[in-house]
């Protein structure tokens, strides 16, 4: 611990309290609401930078730990900490938060203080999810997040928002109940709710399989994986832009994070037994969902399906270790897959966030997301299209953008695990390019065919700043991923040892 103040608590509670403040102070005064929110979000991001600056690369132990009893009767603790797996995700959250607040600046007309407040609170809760080391605390954050998101979609959403919110809520709620039951079972076994104690807890095969499946349901819904993915396109379509950004950039990552924090270390034997299930679902996500994305007529739906497809690389990369050990006898190559999965999460945070923001820019002007309503946007918005094409290329996994890094690593690693995994995963090169660039062609290029497009204005300064920030992030990570990798190495190595050490 190099910092003297509780940095993680600050990152959780500053935005939550700030959000509440915005709710009250910003009432009837939009300017105050906006600026206060931006200051809170910006401050949170700045305060999160020491996490990286002071991060100890040499250890897989939790860092910046805060641990105090919360409900002593049940040994529930207020227990926070980060390692190389969660720290980048915390930074991704605080970073995205700033952009999200900035993105809502002009397009939200009614009750902006509630909107901004909800997003700030969400930001704090999400940091809580990624830093909680007590399972009950984790669960509280995990579920609490649904509320502001539910409100955001339900209140500022599109015409079918009730359907979408209920679907969203039910799916995720349904998933997490099983997770809670698992926590309680393990508490009963170990006498502790600490996640690190769960890691060390010996479990029998049956128990492991049940717990693994319970986790799988919870995380698969969140990521989402086939076949529990259908809530996501609906939620995205109905959600306002900022909601989509948070959903795609951060909330989906919670599922992936769950696998590395819970499933692999807690139930290594069950993971080994059932890795085929996750791998199969991941490959379905990459190929099948990609083909589904191709025929979407709504831009947001298309990008939502693309998100699911890209998250397939995350889950694929995480579960390759067992097949690699089985076929080659060593773990060499597994780290590449696991780190690829982690990089893919960060990169997807940037790219999907950027894509949804780009769609938001168009939606603010045209109030439609139908691909067929557009054509030749480039003629009116050249700067915007420059960014949009860059993000599209990142989505396609072009080397030099962040989208390439994770996909490349996971493809190499999966090829090592099994030639066919690699082959199917590599199909994304074709499918991903097809759905993304076909949309690019229809929306951005071509002649201007209707007067709505004719009247489009290019990005204003605020939008330009948001797009440019993300563009820099996407290119920087693509050109030089080494710094991010270094953060993860020790923790990933430790995780792989945990995942391959039997608990029986």
């Amino acid at each position: 611990m190099l910092t003297s103040y509780p940095i993680l608590s600050t990152l959780i509670w500053l935005p939550i309290i700030g959000g509440l403040l915005v709710l009250f102070a910003g009432r009837n005064n939009d300017t105050v609401a906006k600026w206060l929110s931006l200051i809170v979000a910006g401050l949170t991001f700045i305060l999160s930078i020491p996490l990286w600056a002071n991060f100890n690369y040499g250890t897989a132990e939790m860092q910046f730990v805060e641990q105090i009893p919360w409900i002593p009767m049940f040994n529930v603790q207020y227990y926070l900490g980060v390692d190389g797996l969660s720290m980048p995700l915390v930074l991704l959250t605080t970073f995205t938060q700033v952009l999200v607040i900035a993105s809502a600046w002009e397009c939200i007309k009614e009750r902006i203080e509630q909107y901004m407040g909800a997003f700030l609170i969400m930001g704090g809760i999400m940091v809580g999810v990624f830093t909680a080391l007590d399972s009950i605390l984790f669960y509280v954050f995990w579920e609490a997040l649904l509320i502001p998101m539910f409100i955001v979609i339900g209140k500022w959403g599109g015409p079918r928002r009730v359907y979408a919110t209920m679907k969203f809520f039910l799916y995720t709620f349904f998933g997490s109940v099983f997770m809670l039951v698992s926590f309680l079972y393990m508490y009963w076994q170990s006498g502790s709710f600490s996640i690190l104690d769960f890691h060390a807890l010996p479990l029998g095969m049956t128990a492991q399989i049940l717990i693994f499946l319970a986790f799988l349901i919870a995380f698969a819904v969140k990521i989402p994986m086939f076949p529990v993915h259908t809530w996501l396109p609906d939620a995205h379509v109905e959600a306002p832009t900022a909601g989509s950004v948070v959903l795609a950039a951060i909330m989906l990552k919670m599922g992936g994070y769950g696998f590395v924090r819970f499933s692999l270390p807690i139930t290594p034997d069950a993971s080994m037994q059932l890795d085929w299930l996750v791998i199969a679902l991941s490959l379905i996500a990459i190929v099948y969902i990609g083909i589904v994305a191709l025929v979407q007529s709504d831009m947001k739906k298309l990008v939502a399906y693309s998100s699911i497809s890209h998250m397939g690389f995350v889950t694929l990369g995480m579960f390759l270790v067992y097949d690699i050990v089985a076929s080659h006898g060593t773990m060499e190559g597994a780290q590449l897959g696991m780190e690829g999965a982690m990089v893919q999460m960060i990169s997807h945070g940037f790219i999907s966030g950027a894509m949804f923001l780009a769609i938001g820019v168009l939606y603010d002007r045209m109030h439609t997301r139908e691909i067929s309503a557009y054509s030749g946007v480039v003629n009116k918005m050249p700067w915007f299209v420059m960014f949009a094409v860059l993000f599209a290329m990142a989505n396609v996994g072009l080397p030099g953008t962040s989208g390439f890094v994770g996909e490349f690593m996971v493809i190499l690693s999966s090829f090592k695990a099994n030639v066919w995994y690699g082959t199917l995963a590599a199909l994304t090169l074709i499918i991903g390019a097809a759905y993304t660039l076909w949309m690019v062609k229809r929306v951005f290029f071509g002649p201007v065919t209707n007067e709505n497009v004719e009247g489009l204005q290019d990005l204003n300064k605020r939008e330009f700043a948001i797009m440019a920030t993300l563009a820099i992030a996407v290119v920087a990570l693509g050109v030089f991923p080494a710094p991010l990798m270094e953060v993860m190495h020790t923790s990933v190595e430790n995780l792989l040892v945990q995942a391959t050490t039997t608990k029986l």
Binding site: I136, P148, Y163, M166, E339, F408, A426
Partner: protein, 657 residues
Amino acid sequence: MLHEILTVILLAPLVGAMIAGLFGRQIGRAGAHYSTIAGVAISAVLSFYVFWLYVFQGATEYNAALYTWMVSDGINFQIGFMIDKLSATMMLVVTFVSLMVHIYTIGYMDHDEDYSHDNPYYQRFFSYISLFTFSMLSLVMANNFLQLFFGWEAVGLVSYLLIGFYMKRESAIQANLKAFLVNRVGDFGFILGIAVVFVYFGTMDYKEFFAQLTTQKDVMIEIIPGVEWSMITVMLILLFIGAMGKSAQMPLHVWLPESMEGPTPISALIHAATMVTAGIFMVARLSPAYELSEVALSVVLITGALTAFLMGLLGLIQNDIKRVVAYSTLSQLGYMTAALGASAYAAGMFHVLTHAFFKALLFLAAGSVIIAMHHIQDIRQMGGLKKYMPITYWSMLIGSLALIGFPGFSGFFSKDSILLSLQATDRFGADFAFILLMMGVFVTAFYSFRMFFIVFHGEESEYVKTHKIKESPLVVTIPLILLAIPALLMGLPMIEPMLNGSYFAEAIVIKPENDTMMWVYNNYFHGALDMIIHSFVTLPVILALSGVALAWFMYIKQPNIPGKLKQMCPRGHYVLENAYGFDRLNEIVFVNGTRKLGQFFTRWVDVKLIDTGMVTNTFMAIAHSANGLRRTQTGYMYHYAFVMIFGLLGMLIWVLW
């Protein structure tokens, strides 16, 4: 010092591209072309220095990292340089042709009236071609597979942007999408090839990869259970699939003719001189590996030969001036590929070099014609242009003679070394390939001079008679002249070191028993001049000259013959007209097939099976009650929140107690 020079060579065009691309409005048109030309000129001059250092001074191979991209799993993923005679030569070709194209573009774009002038499309164009130069340099300078793939995809990106440069034109944005996707099919194979390298060699670095070849060459892999394949062969064929995409070999050639939608300068630079030869370069670069697999080399050989002949045939019936040149590019790429397949890597690369100059020359000359014709590209509307455009005429003649392999011209030497090497090899498919390439020589001569006669000789069309046709400005003609010089002369001094292997030296590795070029050198070669003199009694030159003669006869002497031929065999014409049906096949099977599949999945699996089948029954009930709930509480957002928080807490407490 060399390291810094190389870094500057690589980055100077990137800097130029960024200045022109990001600050195009501020610096204006002149600012854009000066900044990009400066960048590329610096690269070109320094590349010339490096070329001199390596090819004339015999400097030793330079292999070093620029920076470490990342480290994972103990593997270094680096960006770096491997400079030897092969890459030094390519660097010079890339930067020189690029510089010529940059200069030429000033004249070409100035006459491009398609675009409104408020849009900084001019700056954008310069930014793209400089970006392309950077990407291509990073490809040829790479010392590892990662960077190779980076350059590979980056040139693909720029190609995509430039084919679709006229973004309002539907055909252009259709063509660029197609180009990208077809290339991605190739890259699919390519990345799997890289994955094989990763799995069996555990490195991305060329040198470490080569070093392990001897120990790994007998490894077998089982992709389909029960069937064992040589790992090396699988890897090489996968990598070659990538080359088939980028270098437009059948059946992944379909994107190249349509890439002509892009402005002519980039057709010269990207789709003729440099990018499309990336696949050839890659195979030559990996010659130590390709030498180990007869099967892979046979695949390369046959693919190349088929492309060379069949694509040449399509050139016969094209009426768009750029398309004629495009099909000739396809065909010539086939020659290069076939050379690789015969282990004559140096001959393939030799043809890459000569082709880069004479084909860039042909394209730019065609562009000059297009400028004069006010962007009409149909050769039937031209005719008799010789007297209006003398410089263009002579450039085109030199380019065409080089293309058909007229004795003494650069293309003659490179094409003859390919044909001779093919004769010398006994690899599976070599005889078949040799016959195809021989027939290809005749076809090449015929379609090249068909176009040449129609455009420059022939009768003046109505358009030519009624419009004022004039020679292009100096910025256009000077690059033509500068390109015509190497197209004419470069073969003569290079043929000997190419054949006896001293040109590329260690950069290309050939097993002694496969070294067909050396065999040719020992058995046939008695000096370059002797080669020229003797060639007049050899089959290739006779075929080429008869092709020219027939073209003259059919299009100048008896111009009614082609129409009659068309009537006589309509079926043959139909097949050629439809380019053997590849496009239709792709459209029906892949494009529509996938779209149908997607629709089926969406409608039946996602909506019917999952949403309706799995979810709705449970969901509808709750949705209804929630709807009721919402109605009673409209406007009170917090109630939701409170109900949910307390609900959750209640549940927690209930569970815990």
